[in-house]
Symmetry: none
Subunit: 262 residues, 2 copies
DNA sequence: GCCAGAGTAG
DNA sequence: CTACTCTGGC
């Protein structure tokens, strides 16, 4: 089974690129982030024509997640509150950043973690609080679902220094600050492991390059899109690769797909 | 001598198409409307390289007119106020819609008449008042210049029913309402004649097709781009043609060029 | 800086 | 439908 994650930075702007990529890479499941479209306007037909079932949770202009799957997805739910159920979770669900469902015996969670803007900002605080709720959410989901879990998406956190082109002076940089790295580690402590690092130890592998400053040309990137697996699944994983080709196209997303296989 | 008029709907978006067209159609003078660029940012070099002198009067985002000429243009002036000189004219000149100059013994006036939005609107009122000032402007210009006159551009008025694909129910439609047609006729009454109609009497010839509703595909167009000539010049005119080829290109202007020859 | 979307105009 | 500005995210 192949599961890919890709922050497409608008599904309407990237429709053709995502279609082309799926034809070259007929993964079983594709998790999208930053679809930037309300559910009603999501371009479903182009992907249904390629044989995918679609499950979307979007909003106007910002955020938005979607799962595309070759087989129907069971028990689909969107947002934190159907699982966590409190009013805090309901507040967070105003931003469409979470969708999950079960394919076969695997529970797939597709996330778009808040970016956080800059360390110390209100949005940074929101990101840290969001990650706390995420931990709760995943813990409950894990207890509920007996099988394996794949938690993937755009985490907006580079877990280690080897996940950044130039780690110097990045302690106070968003996506690399100690507090968010620790918040991510507390999420993973429920029993999730970084699949990319099962296969690749060295640095220089990234999934996001800033549109500014010709970051892609100089490979000044960040590895912030991840697949986290529960132990059984992690053991069964046979591959985890970043496909940088879509980032080379004209008018690309600033992220590129990451694919796990097990 | 060949004089063309073309509403290009942004010279920056249409630069290559206008260049290509000029190489195929090396007219003596090309009058452009809706250049949509301030004079400082007008792409002069690409047209100078083709051997044209440029005279521009533009603004940010909207309107804007330009004259391109193989030979230098004398006595260039922009707006109503240098000719008409009152405060009302100065108000109208905030929108860049008028440029004129002399080539040989011909006074060429290049106009972008206000669209008027919809009959009865504030913009419609503005259009009617603008046409009144235009009449004054042309009258003074005619008295000043002893020679011939060519008044061309986007008039945003279809003078007769044969200038519209489907004239039914168009009495209350912008560009065909009685008041604007009458206002145009009062302008022409100073002694100007519609050159296209010297050569072609039947309907079905248009210079503008709405981007919406696939109007071009069905030839549901309007003839709103005109060359009006003073009597001598009208007599000497040997041809007046609409070139629909540019409207067939990908990403076209909604207007296509009209060329007069005398 | 380089993208999006929203709004505006035609 | 196509262009523009503006705003805002990253």
């Amino acid at each position: 089974m192949k599961i890919a994650t890709w922050n497409v930075n608008s599904i309407r702007a990237r429709q053709q690129q995502v279609r082309d990529w799926l034809q070259e890479n007929p993964v079983d499941v594709l998790c999208l982030q930053e679809t930037k479209v309300v559910d009603q306007d999501f371009p479903r037909a182009p992907f249904e024509q390629l044989g995918y079932h679609l499950y979307v949770s979007g909003q106007k202009a910002y955020n938005g997640v979607a799962i595309l799957s070759r087989t129907p997805v069971e028990e689909v739910s969107t947002g934190f509150s159907p699982i966590v159920g409190d009013t805090q979770a309901r507040d967070f669900d105003q931003q469409k950043r979470v969708i999950c469902g079960t394919v076969g015996e695997v529970c797939i969670v597709n996330l778009y973690v808040p970016n956080g803007s800059s360390v110390g900002s209100d949005k940074y605080d929101y990101k840290l609080r969001w990650l706390k709720v995420l931990r709760e959410y995943l813990q409950i989901l894990k207890a509920k679902s007996p099988g394996a879990m794949c938690v993937c998406g755009d985490f907006n956190v580079a877990p280690e220094n080897r996940d950044i082109h130039d780690p110097s002076d990045k302690e106070s940089h968003i996506m690399a600050s100690p507090a968010e790295r620790e918040a991510l580690q507390e999420v993973l402590a429920i029993g999730l492991a970084d699949t990319f690092r099962k296969f690749t130890s060295e640095g220089g592998h990234y999934s996001w390059w800033d549109y500014r400053t010709r970051a892609f040309r100089g490979n000044r990137g960040w590895r912030i899109d991840h697949h986290y697996l529960t132990p059984d699944l992690y053991e069964r994983a046979t591959n985890c690769k970043i496909d940088i080709l879509p980032r080379k196209l004209p008018k690309p997303s600033d992220h590129t797909p990451v694919i796990v296989e097990f």
